[in-house]
Each structure stands twice: as C-alpha cells, then as structure tokens.
Amino acid sequence: MINAQQLQEIVGEDWVITKREQMESYLVDETAVAIRPKPADNVILVKPASAEEISEILKLANRELTPVFVRGGGTGICGGAVPIRDGIVLSTERLDRIEEVDRANLMVVAQAGVAFGAMLKAVEDAGLFFPPHPGAENAHVGGLVACNAGGVRAVKYGVIRNFVRGLEAVIPTGEILMMGGKLLKNNQGLDLMHLFINSGGTLGVITKVIFRLCPKFISSGTLVISYDNRHEAIDTVPEILQSGITPLAIEYVERNVIEISARRLGMRWPAAKGQAFLIVMLTGDSEDEVYAQGERVSNICEKHQAVDILIAERKEEQADILKIRSEVYSSLKDNVADVLDITVPPASIGVMMDKVDTIAQRFDTTIPTYGHAADGNLHPHLMRDLHERGILRQVKREIYQEAIKLGGVITGEHGLGVVRLPDLDLCPDGKTWELMRGIKRVFDPNNILSPGIGLL
C-alpha cells in the first residue's frame, strides 16, 4: 500500500490528505443512504494537478498494487465514486481549466475537473450551445463522460456519448492516451475513446475532454402540459414524435412529486390544473418556428384531454421549470432508499409505469415515478419504508424483471457503479460480461483502478 509521503513527492505536501475529518465529503457520493456503500477505513486523498502527476500516481499504485478510486464532482447516485477498499481517492478537481472554446470547429476543450455549470457558461458566453443537460451542474465533465450521463435533453440530441469527440486519459499502467480529437470522422482503428465513455473510472482516469458543440438556437419555449390522467399524458408522447417534431426534451412528472421539489426550492410549480404533466422543450431558428411546433403539439395534447397548456419563454422561467424538474431527486432523497433508472423501448413506457404501479400496490407502498418520457428512461423512487420492511431488494428486482421483459435494461443513465452489481444475474449474457472483464484486464492488468465498481 502506498504511503502519503510517496504521494507528496509527486503532488506536493498540500495535496495529500490523510486526516479522515478532512476527507469525509470525498468518501461518499449522492447515492441514497440506505444503499450507499460503506467507504473503506484506510484511505488517502490525493489531488494531482496534471495528467503527468496522475500518470506518476498510477504507476506507483500499479507497482504497489494499491487500489485507486477516481473522483469527479461526486454527484453520482450508484456508489461509483465511493472508495470501497483501502487505497487512494484520486480527485481531479484541480484539473479545472477550460482550455478552449473553439468557435471555428464548434468544440470545447475542458479538463476533467471543470464543473459542468462552468463549462455551460463558457460555452454560452461564446454564443454556442451544449445540448445534454444531465441535471447536477456541479458534476465534473470527466465524470459526465465516465458515466455517459443522460438527462432531460436527450430526445433531440442524444446523451453525452454523442458529444464526445476527444478524450485524454491516463491508464492504470501510467501511459497518457489521447483518443480522438476535434474530429467528426475518425476511423483510425478501433475506437478506444468510446470504451472510456461509461467506463465509470475502471479503464483509466479521464483528464481532458473535447466536446462537440452546437450553434445556439434562436428561439425556445417550454410547454407545461397538464392532464388529469396519466395515460393520456403518456399516450401523447409517441404522437408528438410521429408528427415529425423532435423536442429538446419531453419529461413526465406527477404533481405529488414535482410540488415537493418546487417547495424545497422555495419556488412554485406553475401549473395549477391537472395531476400529470409533460414538460416539452421546443427550440427553433425563429419564434415563429417554435410557435408552429407549439401549435401542433398543443393540438395533439388537446386531443388527449390535456386540461391546460402553459408556455414559458423567458429564460429564467424556462430555467425554473428545468430546475424544479432537475431537483426532484434531491428533494425526495431523505425519504428515498433507491432511485432506479430503468430504460425500456420508448413506446413501452406507459406499460412499464403501470407495472411499477401494480408492484407498488402488491407491496402496499407508493413508488413515485417520473422520467424522460420520450426516451423510455424512468426513475421509480423506492421509498425508505421498503428498506425498513426489508423488502427493498425484492421490489427492485421485480421492477428490473419487468423492464427486462419489455426489452429494457436495469440502468440507462446512472450506470452500474456498486449498487447495481448484485442484480446483474437478471441480465444473463455470460459472454458479454466476460468480454468486458477481458477489456478491463487489458487496460488494468492488476485491477487497481476502481476495483469492485462497474464490473463484477
């Protein structure tokens, strides 16, 4: 096991922390307490400032066979940043420079420790737009890539993976790799870069990211559509997509959940009518285009008994709606034992929600469920009572099984981390997991990087 002095020689004495009370916040992430893995007892926190320093740390760890757990913003909710074995927590927070917003190539180059919110602002200040919005703006860009974050805006543009063009990463044997670049086409061999996206810190430490950007849309509007009936809301979604309109986002929420989030933020949910809501974000090259889309969406929604359709156009009003939606998990967190992120084919989302309801009734509980209605990604919240009654895992597995039966997966956003691994037996595909383990061994022969995370 590496000692602190060896690390101090690499990064300087100020950047190695051994006192437990000075590193408490580095030992956990946002995973619900009921299922959060317990951090190991003997952990050293190290904060390198460059890929070169990280390379030296990894070489040392590889030599000494010391586990290294990579930490970005710590906003994950599957235990992926928790040091579950004695070893090192390697925080990339000092790699916090936005190196370049390249308007000519429509790219941004950011070091791994840049906060997502800071990158968004730099991009916006340059008059450009980064479409994915996974929620927590204090997440770090390295983490966004390591987790292939999704979020609400995936309908039109896809998830983080669709925007990564280049990556710099340090692999456990100490080599610094530059994969991809400011390129839109790259067929130079196997695409290792995409292996790092959603690798959850198991293949290497991401140190720099090149994201593709988009021109800023000229006009946008967020519709808040109220329904009395959940099914009418859900049935609207495929019709909107079939009509040829691809909104930036289509979110589904219910009043009982969204009002808790609004209250916690000291805000108010704008819709006074209805119980079930679609949040539809429209963008276009002109206000007229947004209104033309809004007109068609409204016609479809009214056909499905929408009881009210509001529009937010002011920037802060649109941001408020996104904020209330993005903070739902934070507002429920104290009472939540686990938040799932099952994903089914988009057209099956209504069926999946009914299955969740049936399971909730059978176990005499409530399972608040909301999610990304157009991409099949749902967040059933399993409440603490299930944990206290000792049936949390049973309920979770039943939901997983229903999702798998519909052709879905047990995680579409948050990743496997630590907390999803015990239920991988529900996804039996021996060869797939075997190949993944083989790839891990190629990069990390001694299994020092995030051992026990993301892969069995």
Binding site: V224, P270, S298, I309, R314, K315
Partner: protein, 282 residues
C-alpha cells in the same frame, strides 16, 4: 393562487368605476441583464448585446393587476415607452392578462431620464382617461433607480405606496404592507393611487400557449409625440426634457475567491490569521 389578497368589494367602487377598476401597469422592455454588455465609452447599456424582455419586476406588477381583475373585475392596460420592438413585451403582457396595451414610440422620446420618462408616461395616462390604480414594479433591472413610479405619481398628483409586498384590502380604500428598510408598514390610501410592488407580492403566472399565440397577433396601440401633444409640453420629452447627464460608467472589477494557506498551528500562525481577517475587514 397565493392567499395574499383579502378583498372587500364595495358598492362605491363598483359604482364609481362602472363595475370595474381601471388599472394601468407601466412596463419596460429591458435587456437580459445576465448577458448584457456595457458601452463604457458612451456611458450606456449596449442594448444590442442581449435579448430584450419585460423587466422582471413589472411582471409582479402585472400579476397584481390581473389578480385584482379576477377578484374585483378590472380593465388592465399595459403601457410602455420605447422603440417599436417593445411591442413584443406588451404582447407578452396581453398574454399574461392585460386587456389592452399602449406603446409610446417616437424619436423625440429617446434619451429620456427618469423625469422625462415619468412625464411622458403621465401624459399618456392622462390621454387614456381616468384610472383607479397604477401598479409599477419596484424598479427596472437596467436603470435600477426606482424613480419613475413615484415621479409618475407626482406628475399625476396622486399618492403612491412604495415597496408593497402585500395587498391587505382593495375596495373603497386600499390597504397594503410596505417593506421599508426592514420594517413592515401597513399603509392605507384612498384611490386613485400608485403602487410600486416588490417581488414578494406574488409569483407571476405563466401564460397559456393559446393566449400567447393569440397575443402575438394582437394589436398594440401606438402613440407618438404628436398624439400626446394636447396633454404635454413636448420640450419635456426625451433628452431635451432630461436634466440627468451620465458622466462616467465603469464596471466594478470582478475579483475571484482568493485562498491563502496558513501552515503552522502555533500562536504566531493564529495571530497571522487574525491579522489577515482584520486586513480584509479594513
């Protein structure tokens, strides 16, 4: 709807106003202040650098008016002075519940300070005929003076209540809570009266899509200087009527957070820390 308003409708008010209140909401189109840049040479806000929108404080004024309209019955008129593009803001006001909108547009109005602005608005309000209430936002986010409201009341020779955070009663008289320097004053006024409301008074509603789509095509009445002439002294319009001159505009420098590491834990280090705090506090 927040329980902010306890309304007592009196016969008197119904009789006097012909079954409904007449409410005027002055509004301003302002640049989005998170994006706007300043032209320090000319001493002006560079309005072309950011998108324009209704001054956020004015939305609270409009919401107050619309809530009164829903409870008491009222005709709400939004009025603004500015270039033609300010029509967009007034149409937004129509979508959010105003019944009519007037834009004062003329190159003669340009360059107005708060005195000339309030004078011009007062002339237009006289032209509109009678009113019971004028409801303004606390201030605008670009000028930040909070002067136009009280000046408008003076031009019209009516009382005004500033920093209104709550309406307690609206009827024969108006009773409001005014937040003044940390104290809440409960103030009574007779109508007509001008109110300047704070952001605490309500949360502005979102317009419905259909109302907004309709309002985009709605007509906004446009008056120029000539049309106000029988109510005004044109020499008091615009830059000519503005005694204010901006001498200099400068931006405060943005200093980021500065860290300093004190390495020792002995007495001397503690006094170093104490000294650093004292130095910071000046």
């Amino acid at each position: 709807m927040p329980e902010l308003l306890k309304v007592s409708i009196t016969e008197d008010i119904n009789r006097r106003s012909g079954a409904s209140l007449r409410i005027i909401v002055p509004m301003k189109q302002v640049p989005d202040m998170r994006q706007v840049k300043f032209d320090t040479e000319k001493g002006k806000v560079d309005r072309s650098s950011a998108a324009a929108e209704i001054n956020p404080f004015d939305l609270h004024a409009l919401e107050t008016a619309v809530q009164l309209k829903e409870k008491l019955g009222a005709a709400v008129t939004a009025i603004s002075m500015g270039p033609r593009r300010a029509e967009v803001a007034l149409r937004d006001a129509l979508a959010r519940g105003a019944d009519s909108a007037v834009l004062l547009e003329d190159s003669k109005f340009a360059g107005a300070d708060t005195l000339a602005t309030s004078y011009t608005l007062a002339c237009a309000i006289r032209k509109l005929g009678g009113f019971d209430l004028i409801i303004c936002g606390e201030k605008t986010v670009d000028g930040d003076t909070g002067q136009v409201g009280p000046e408008l009341a003076e031009h019209l020779n009516i009382p005004h209540l500033a920093y209104v955070s709550k309406l307690v009663e609206a009827g024969e008289k108006l009773v409001a809570v005014c937040d003044m320097e940390g104290e809440a004053h409960i103030v009574e006024a007779s109508l007509p009266v001008l109110l300047m409301v704070t952001k605490d008074i309500n949360i502005p509603r979102l317009p419905t899509f259909r109302d907004k789509a309709m309002a985009r095509k709605a007509e906004v009445t446009i008056w120029n200087a000539e049309e106000l002439s029988s109510f005004a002294d044109p020499s008091r319009f615009g830059i000519e009527g503005s005694p204010t001159r901006v001498r200099k505009v400068f931006l405060p420098s943005e200093e980021g957070r500065k860290g300093k590491i004190f390495r020792n834990t002995n007495e001397e280090a503690i006094s170093d820390v104490a000294q650093a705090i004292l130095d910071f506090l000046g």
